[in-house]
Amino acid sequence: MGTTTAGMFFIASLIIALALAYRPLGDYMGRVYSSTTHSRPERLIYRLLGVHPEAEQSWGGYARALLAFSAVSVLAVYGLQRLQDRLPLSLGLPPVTDHIAWNTAISFVTNTNWQSYSGESTMGHLTQMAALAVQNFVSAAVGMSVAIALVRGFARARSGTVGNFWVDLVRGVLRVLLPIAFVGALVLVAGGLVQNLSAPHEVTTLTGGTQAVTGGPVASQEVIKELGTNGGGFYNVNSAHPFENAVPWTNWLQIFLILVIPFSLTRTFGRLVGQLRQGYAILAVMGVLALAGVLLTNVFELSGGATVPQAVGAAMEGKEVRFGVSNSATFGAATTLTSTGAVNSFHDSYTPFGGMMTMFNMMLGEVAPGGVGSGLYGMLVLAVITVFVAGLMVGRTPEYLGKKIRAREIKLASLYFLVTPVLVLVGTACAMGSAEQRASMLNTGPHGLSEILYAFTSASNNNGSAFAGLTVNTPWYDVALGLCMAFGRFVPIILVLALAGSLAAQSPVPESAGTLPTYRPQFVGMVVGVTLILVALTFLPALALGPIAEGLS
């Protein structure tokens, strides 16, 4: 079997596995978020928190609780990094520098997991476990809770509330993420990932040199890194490191874990609004965009079009032999289509158009299928914009799932869409405008612009992967990208919750002959079209100066 054929089988097997998990996981999550009973450990937790699980919150109360939790999290992650030398398991590492610690705290709380540090030489084991991995769980649960709150907005009528943040948070962690993570961690260790608390130990190699073999609680962090679409690696080279991604099947499993919750949440959506076909329509939009992204990335990488890949004979720079070009490209597409940002190969060395695809995937706004939760709410906002556009064309009041899309709703949806492009383009422009920031580029010419554009795209969309040649552990980049991550996460969340509140308060309008059916292929095509047109109009000029100029020269 040739490389290309094997690569296509690899993609097909992932699709089959995701399809098999779709119904049970989607239905299960639907039950998790609609159940009215609390397990014993959950009740204990609510008592410790001092919250009433039955008390429903308005969208404002929900948002305030979410922001309070995130603010406290930022402080805790910052503090643990700054104090790591006084805590156990620090491996003798000094406290993390202030601007790196701040950037990392924002990065992990916002589910971005951008890394301006190198894991093995910066973070002790306790910081990794108690600061970073904890945020891998809770930032993912926060994303899911916002998505569920928006879905409740569609499902409820004349209601002043959208749920209880604390209950959604705790259930997301206890009933969804933790059980899968625990089993997944052990499966990954079976594949060869390490799971210990050792410091690096020195060995004498065959030729008499020395090598320090590193340790750490890697598998337990790796599994939630993928499942929660976080992406922050234990080591600097992330999922390319053999201790993070040992064999081809752990690579397969990691891609599966990245995609399984974002896709399955569309089933949960269909369940909660009582119309499964609405969930299938959203799934179809995500699926079409994702499949196109994966296949195009594969095509560009396998064709190896650019001077260096031509000289080499394959786009193997920055890729591992055990994964090869195709499986690396599939991972690269999956990680950028979701807001994961883990890498098993280095996007900076991809072919110009392969590298552009990883950027384009992020520019879609992380909706195909996007991060856990954030993908679903992002796609629902795009669906709202689509019914509005369609309503304009036929001259009717747009409605979606029985809710009118009025001025307030469309304003919130439009603002949501505008947040990331503003952050990406203004951020890139600021960096390019300063000689000092341009000096951080490793590569020159259009590829240098791509490095900076990639960094701001990745941070603002909460992805976290990088064209890693760019030197970003400087105070300017740490602060600028940190601000992009924070605004790119929390402004959209507030807008989505406001949208949820205003939808929940409406009374449903009965379906009429003039209602646009939002479950037909026609609607799927329209959402795909709206997404692509919005992204193309926004980012094409920037892409033309970077990867397109490089690829065509």
Partner: protein, 279 residues
């Protein structure tokens, strides 16, 4: 609690929530996973150590350099891929090169600043060195015979082979009727049009792709079966072993695609070299 102002109550709840979840997810979960992993998969959990002569010599998952103290290949060993991790295969500073696909122009050293080889020149130089070591042609597309990137900077009536500093002889005498010059120190060619020249090297080249590229991790424990086959005659000769015996060992240490489609066939270099040492 009831008499506290709302914002304060909210932040106290947040603080408690984080504390509770940190104990659960940051301590109990990873420690329980560590405990179980240590019992169920002891070797894997501790880094798949490889032992020889009663001592640890590394990990079967982490590649090593098989070079001497001066960085020259040790001829009796199969060589690993190039590595960008520290000085090569350093697990405490893992890295890829991160150089782009059109990084084709070297930056010569100037005024105390260290120069930088382009990715293309690195590929060409590695190909040439591997070719010499294995006794085959190291020629590659877009590479000069002296092992740098074959790249011209073209001006209206000038052409410069930009990676060949004077007094080198340019790899082509003329480009579109214009004589090609070597690159003079201190001259800035940035304004010229970049023209990589493919040349007439065969495809595929004798030296395989993985032998001339750095991996993502810098710790790649594998090479392709093609690169192992290329090295087999040298290792067999150096060790006085029949070539068939060495090829059989390569076969033994080759992992095919899992289930026939996952990943690529790969040869574990450390395990292969160890098997050779053990005879």
């Amino acid at each position: 609690m009831k008499h506290l102002p709302n914002p304060l109550r909210r932040h106290l709840a947040a603080l408690r929530a984080l504390a509770v979840l940190t104990v659960l997810l940051g301590l109990i979960y990873p420690l329980a996973a560590t405990g179980l992993a240590q019992v169920l998969f002891h070797d894997n959990a501790n880094g798949s150590a490889v032992r020889a002569g009663g001592r640890d010599v590394g990990s079967s998952l982490i590649g090593q350099s098989f070079t001497d103290a001066d960085g020259r290949p040790v001829r009796k060993y199969f060589q690993s891929r190039p590595s960008a991790a520290g000085d090569g295969y350093d697990p405490t500073s893992t890295s890829a090169s991160n150089l782009g696909p059109e990084d084709v122009i070297d930056v010569p050293p100037a005024g105390g600043e260290k120069g930088r080889q382009s990715l293309l020149t690195q590929v060409c130089a590695r190909s040439r060195a591997a070719g010499e070591l294995e006794g085959v042609s190291g020629a590659r597309p877009y590479c000069t015979p002296d092992g740098v990137g074959a790249v011209l900077k073209v001006f209206p009536n000038r052409a410069v082979s930009v990676n060949q500093p004077c007094p080198a002889t340019p790899f082509v005498a003329a480009y579109q009727g214009v004589r090609v010059e070597c690159a003079k120190q201190g001259e800035d060619y940035a304004a010229g049009r970049t023209v990589p020249v493919r040349g007439n090297a065969p495809t595929p080249p004798a030296v395989p792709a993985d032998a001339v590229t750095a991996s993502g991790s810098g710790l790649d424990p594998h090479i392709s079966p093609a690169y192992a086959d290329l090295q087999a005659p040298r290792v067999a000769k150096e060790r006085g072993l029949p070539l068939d015996r060495v090829r059989a060992l390569i076969e033994q240490h080759t992992t095919g695609r899992i289930l026939g489609f996952m990943g690529e066939p790969s040869v574990n270099v450390l395990e292969l070299n160890l098997a050779l040492d053990e005879g």
